[in-house]
């Protein structure tokens, strides 16, 4: 757990990647997150989160198809690594345990 260092925003992006499956590329992730968070995000923030996570080994990626709308440039489809899945699980557990440990909730 010590070494993972997954930021809050990164975690959201990572989860979105998992959700979107084979549709997980930059703009789609941006759309999905914007909808869920109800705020607008910049291409830069998404992209830098993706690149950072790729470097840390949470994501792998490969080129997908190119579309007219993208001016003929290929998409890059991201996929979460097993390691990422494990880290996400761990985080979820830690959070759940913490929630469970809040005294007010526990007694009610």
């Amino acid at each position: 757990m010590k070494k993972t260092k997954l930021g809050e925003f990164e975690e959201l992006v990572l989860l979105t990647v998992v959700v979107l499956q084979d549709q997980a590329y930059g703009v789609e992730i941006k759309r999905e997150l914007e909808e869920r968070l109800r705020e607008s995000l910049s291409v830069g923030s998404i992209q830098s989160a993706l690149k950072r996570m790729e470097e840390k080994g949470f994501l792998t990626s490969e080129f997908g198809e190119a579309t007219q709308k993208r001016g003929g440039k290929r998409k890059r489809i991201y996929q979460a690594t097993p390691y990422a899945h494990r880290v996400l699980e761990e985080m979820k557990d830690v959070r759940a345990q913490l929630w469970a440990s809040i005294p007010g909730i526990a007694t009610n």
């Binding site: 930059g26 910049s42 830069g44 992209q47 579309t67 993208r70 001016g71 290929r74 998409k75």
Partner: protein, 868 residues
């Protein structure tokens, strides 16, 4: 907001993105950006989408996505760069002489080129300030004469409106009065009089040409014949401010009309790089009222400028209009109409037999070459001195290579050294230029200035090119040394190196000697033209023009002038004596034959002019009051006698028209009419009593006093006008003004070229002497005299310069020969010019080298043999 068919993201933003984003992310991110952009174009306005794209772009600039400028790999470059600069400056410090020679040479060369660059750009900018310069064309005509074809830049006044109506590609057409038909005279307001020069113009003048209307309604200015538009400086001169000038009435009495006019507009003064200069504009209709020929097909009164549709094929258009004048009611079928780009007239203005032969462009080219050559000479200095000092750098190169320096790193080092030097030279050159600019402006008659607006980009690129050129040879040569050989002290290919060095010196001196030859020839020719026998005596002849109304009898003024004690003789004529263009045809000297088409040079003179100018009569008599001579009498020159083949010319009557004849009353000896650019041609001197140009010969020594009295007489007859007189021979000299400028400029440029070459030679001599120190020491110990030492040291230079002389003479000969082609009468290119140039360059070279050789020869052998 109208949407273009394919929305595109902002260009600069896209460029920024491509520049900064890491290459391996670029495709993905660019695609993402584009997709988002396309979504947003649908969602918002095109403009907003572009704005948002820019914003998104800026937010992409974060360290994870951009390539890192400060990453450790690049730091190495910075270190190398720092090291190079350090080594460069250490080098400068250690080899002070070389450094100074290079710096002085390069900065002088750069300064000379900068001056020329300023001048050339200024020359090229003339008349290009019109907004639609690309679409602006000037209608010209070739006119076929029996033996020759002349080219005019003026046309019929009808041309403009007819062309506009006939050709759809002509968007608009302007006509203005040509240079013969410009109103020049005195404008009066209340008690003040101002002499001004105006221009007749059609109403659309301001629409088509980019002269700015400062005050006044563009719709109404120039729309009628009772109003006038004046320049801002004139308005300020007359009325104090431009605003006060509006709606005032001024009186204008000039060569063509005398009228009261209401000022209904003020325009900004034409820029200095406009060839058309005028202080007032008036409707062209005024000229038509004065002279109906101004609006007829067979009157050449107007200049016609066309505004063409964008992208018109001018060659095709010229084919279409070639025969535009050759319609029955228009002319006699001897015209060829064509157009040229409006602004090109200044540089390409000379036509011979209907073919463009050049014009000022020749000077522009000449000086461009001179600038390039001077820079080349300065660069050669740098190359020579750096390769000469190669031996000193060898250890450095060897060590660097041995510890793993790439060849490219070394090339980069040497190039940066030369670029640093040339940047330093630029700083010095800019100082020099600002020092010399006033003098340079005085010579060229321009008002150039070194300001931010005139092309720093070009100047910087000149510097970079200079630096790279100068550094290229040493960089590639020195960096190619083999480290092992160098460190062992073996220097490969010294022989070849010496050859190249000598070759470069030969190039330098060849150029310098060509310059010397050019300067000698130009100066000789100008001196020749100004002192050649002209066939008349123009000394002490004062020339002035009577102004105002054209119909004033010159006799009373002539009589009064003749009464002044200091006046030897006074006369008048129509047209300028020095103009040399007045010509006429229609004389026939043989019965029945079609020989009346020869175009004679044909000045129109009054009584007493031949005597005043001391023209020599070969036969017959000159025009005289006693014989009551009139227009039916003519005098011809010897060339005309020869042309007509008359045995006894005096008394011969030439046919002039079916009803008229012209009687030859005298033959005058050939004389030069106009400048030496023209040949002496057959001439028919016509008689005009009413000429406006006065020529007054005064007694030598009484100039000041007599001129005052002439002025008094002039003022009596022309109270409103200033007396503007000049000496005829001063005006004659001014005919060679452009050559004079070329001569003066080339004198300076040649001096600079020679100076820079000598600097290089000086440096090389110093180097040779230094390298031969030991040899000199040993020779001296063994008893060699100083003279012997000096001979040894200067021997190789003498050979080099001799080769340069041999090369330069033919080049100089052809260059001088082609320049002299511009003159009808020119000096012979005699051998002594080339000999002199050769001897001069040899002397200069020896003098330069002798400083060093003398120093070397005088050295005490102990000094140079002590260290080992």
């Amino acid at each position: 907001m109208i949407q273009p068919k394919t929305p595109t993201p902002p260009r600069w933003s896209l460029r920024l993105l491509r520049l900064f984003i890491r290459k391996d992310f670029l495709e993905e991110i660019e695609g993402d950006m584009e997709e988002v952009f396309m979504d947003e174009v649908e969602q918002y306005s095109y403009r907003k989408a572009r704005r948002r794209y820019n914003w998104q772009m800026l937010r992409l600039l974060r360290p994870t996505l951009t390539h890192n400028i400060f990453n450790s790999q690049k730091l190495n470059y910075y270190g190398m760069f720092k090291h190079n600069i350090l080594v460069t400056f250490r080098g400068f410090k250690r080899h002070k002489l070389t450094f100074l020679i290079n710096l002085i040479g390069l900065s002088t060369g750069l300064a000379a080129s900068l001056l020329i660059y300023l001048w050339v750009t200024d020359e090229r900018s003339v008349d290009t300030f019109h907004e639609n310069n690309d679409q602006l064309h000037w209608v010209m005509t070739h006119f076929q004469l029996p033996e020759t074809m002349v080219t005019w830049n003026y046309t019929s006044g009808k041309m403009a409106e007819n062309m506009k109506a006939d050709f759809p590609e002509v968007l608009d057409a302007v006509r203005v009065g040509n240079h013969f038909f410009r109103p020049r005279g005195v404008m009066s307001f209340e008690e003040d009089n101002f002499e001004i020069s105006g221009l007749f113009a059609s109403q659309n003048f301001f629409d088509v040409l980019s002269y700015d209307l400062f005050l006044g309604n563009p719709e109404t200015v120039l729309s009628n014949k009772e109003t006038i538009v004046i320049s801002r400086s004139l308005a300020e001169k007359i009325f104090g401010t431009a605003e006060k000038a509006m709606n005032q009435t001024v009186a204008w009495e000039n060569t063509l009309f005398n009228k009261e006019l209401i000022v209904n507009g003020v325009f900004e003064d034409p820029p200095t790089n406009s060839t058309q200069q005028f202080e007032a504009l008036i409707n062209y209709g005024v000229l038509i009222d004065r002279d109906p020929w101004a609006d007829r097909w067979n009157g050449g009164y107007a200049q016609t400028y066309l505004l063409m549709k964008e992208g018109t094929d001018m060659n095709a258009f010229n084919e279409k209009i070639a025969d535009y004048m050759n319609i029955e009611e228009r002319s006699t079928g001897r015209f060829t109409v064509f157009t040229r780009p409006y602004a090109s007239g200044y540089l390409y203005g000379e036509y011979k037999e209907g073919v463009l032969t050049g014009g000022r462009i020749q000077n522009v080219q000449l000086f461009t070459y001179i600038a390039i050559f001077i820079l080349l000479i300065a660069c050669i200095n740098f190359m020579n001195l750096s390769t000469a000092q190669a031996s000193k750098k060898m250890k450095e190169i060897g060590v660097k290579k041995a510890i793993g320096a790439h060849r490219y790193a070394l090339i980069f080092q040497f190039l940066s050294e030369s670029v640093i030097l040339s940047v330093m030279a630029l700083a010095l050159a800019i100082g020099l230029v600002s020092l010399c600019l006033p003098q340079f402006n005085y010579i060229t008659g321009k008002t150039l200035e070194l300001s931010l607006s005139n092309g720093w980009g070009a100047i910087i690129s000149i510097v970079l090119v200079t630096g790279l050129l100068a550094g290229s040879y040493p960089a590639f040569y020195l960096s190619g040394f083999k480290p092992v050989a160098v460190l062992k002290g073996k220097i490969a290919g010294l022989k070849g190196e010496e050859w190249i060095r000598k070759g470069l010196v030969v190039v330098q001196f060849t150029l310098s000697i060509v310059f010397i030859i050019g300067v000698l020839v130009i100066n000789r020719q100008i001196e020749f033209a100004q002192n050649a026998p002209l066939g008349y005596d123009g000394s002490h002849v004062v020339k002035f023009e009577r102004k105002g109304s054209q119909t004033a009898d010159p006799l009373p003024m002539l009589t009064e002038l003749n009464q002044i004690p200091g006046v030897t003789s006074a006369a008048n004529m129509a047209g300028d004596f020095l103009w040399g263009q007045d010509s006429g045809s229609g004389y026939s000297w043989q019965d029945g034959e079609e020989d009346d088409n020869h175009l004679f040079k044909s000045p129109k003179i009054g009584f007493n002019l031949i005597e005043t100018m001391r023209l020599e009569m070969v036969a017959g008599r000159s025009f005289s009051r006693e014989f009551n001579d009139d227009r039916t009498k003519i005098i011809i020159n010897e060339s005309a006698v020869k042309l007509m083949g008359l045995d006894d010319p005096v008394g011969t009557k030439l046919g002039y028209s079916p009803t008229e004849t012209r009687e030859i009353i005298g033959v005058v000896k050939d004389f030069q009419y106009g400048s030496m650019h023209q040949e002496i041609e057959p001439m028919v001197i016509r008689f005009r009593e009413w000429g406006r140009n006065f020529l007054v010969k005064i007694q030598p020594g009484t100039e000041v006093n007599t001129l005052d009295q002439i002025e008094a007489v002039y003022k009596k007859f022309h109270p409103k006008y200033d007396f503007e007189a000049s000496f005829l021979m001063d005006d004659y000299d001014a005919l060679y003004d452009s050559e004079d400028k070329v001569a003066q400029l080339s004198n300076y440029m040649a001096a600079i070229a020679i100076l820079v070459s000598c600097l290089g030679l000086f440096g090389l001599a110093a180097f040779t002497a230094e390298r031969k120190t030991k040899e000199i020491g040993i020779r001296k110990v063994l008893g060699a005299s100083r003279v012997a030492i000096m001979r040894i040291l200067s021997k190789s230079f003498t050979g080099t310069i001799l080769v340069a002389i041999v090369l330069a003479i033919p080049i100089g000969y052809f260059a001088a020969e082609s320049w002299l082609q511009n003159f009808a009468y020119s000096i012979e290119l005699s051998w002594w010019i080339f000999t002199l140039a050769g001897i001069l360059s040899m002397l200069i070279a020896w003098l330069t080298v002798s400083f060093q050789t003398l120093k070397a020869a005088r050295v005490n052998p102990v000094e140079c043999l002590r260290h080992e």
